[in-house]
Symmetry: C2
Subunit: 202 residues, 2 copies
DNA sequence: GACAAGTTGAACAGGCGTGTTCGAGTTGTG
DNA sequence: CACAACTCGAACACGCCTGTTCAACTTGTC
């Protein structure tokens, strides 16, 4: 290999700016999925033209931000041990990545408006799968209720996380309370129901 | 009273069109909170100018649509008997008005962008109160868990309903399954936790 | 049937967001 | 130091949305 890699020799400064822009995009789009390019550039402390220098279009920027976020999420989930008690595993999962999930959901919503649906599915299929698998295992082991599909329960978790993040953003919920509330509620929703609640358990 | 009422003698035709517009606004804004006036007018089978003839501005239209929706909701809740077992009452409430709540939430989201925050609170304070009271009573009677605030549980219900509506709209959930899934999940989330799960019940 | 009420499309002005170009200035890097 | 990489603001064209006016047309109502 004469060339060790495709190295356009990007200046360190530029690299740093690109990072700042992506971070700003995540925070802005989390607050408002319709945030304009000007907003994001301003939040990143960067001129609008500079932003376009790094990302050809708003759609590309959103896709990059989403990919970065999902990458981080996958990384976090990767080093988590989800093989123990499903209840405990789900609690750990929620408490360690609820914020990431909330941000990803928000950016995903923004992406939905500008990216082809197929492209979206490809990006967040992997992390989605991980959650689905965990809940499915919990059902199989009897730790979670079986009268509702795992996909529905996974969706419920997402909706609650998203809602909690919105509550935090609007000041209706304390940020430090959020993870406990979410985990407690989701686990409650997944708990099995004892149909026969008479004195004689089978 | 010489004049029986302030009767501008609106033509029956116009009245009917105004209704069509409001209905179209609800369906359009439910699908996309950023729906344009053109979209709504077209969905109502009406010219854009006609719409402006009925509602001075987009904001007024949204406010009218929201008010109509909340009025319907309040009406439904009014004739419901919510005094019995809180669990049963909550199930009845959900199954009879989940769609209305979902639509109202969507329109409310649209309204959030164009209406002053105070005006919003006034409009949906009453129905909100009803749900909060029911959950609070359930907690007091020991039917619902007390380790989470009633306002949080009410919010969770909203988030799940909203999410379920989105799932239905996107084809991820069968419309006929929705009410059962929602009620079952919300009731599960509200169920009290038995901290001491040893063999010796109290 | 006659008249007013209502509807309609075309066309306009103003605002906002997206991408693009340009020229000048700044700063990292060899 | 010197050059290329990078940044920046101004300004432009384009498209979409809002709200308004106007002149013709249709339709309800008395």
């Amino acid at each position: 290999m004469s060339r060790p890699a495709v190295k356009p020799a990007r200046r360190a400064d530029a690299q740093h700016n690109a990072e700042k822009i992506l971070e700003a995009a995540v925070t802005c789009l989390s607050r408002n999925p319709d945030a304009s390019v000007s907003d994001i550039a301003h939040a990143a402390g960067v001129g609008r033209v500079t932003l376009y220098g790094h990302f050809p279009s708003r759609a590309d920027l959103i896709e990059a931000a989403l990919a970065r976020l999902l990458g981080q999420g996958d990384e976090v989930l990767e080093r988590l041990d989800l093989t123990g008690d499903p209840r405990e595993a789900l609690r750990v999962l929620i408490e360690s990545s609820w914020l990431l999930i909330a941000q990803a959901s928000a950016v995903l919503e923004a992406a939905q408006a500008v990216l082809p649906p197929g492209r979206l599915h490809d990006l967040h299929a992997k992390p989605e799968q991980r959650v689905g698998d965990l809940i499915g295992r919990g059902q199989a082991e009897g730790a979670f209720r079986r009268d509702l599909p795992a996909s529905w329960l996974a969706g419920v978790m997402h909706h609650i996380i998203k809602g909690a993040a919105a509550d935090v953003a609007d000041g209706r919920l304390d940020r430090t309370d959020a993870p406990r509330f979410i985990a407690e509620t989701v686990l409650g929703a997944c708990r099995p129901v004892d149909e026969e609640r008479g004195p004689a358990g089978h």
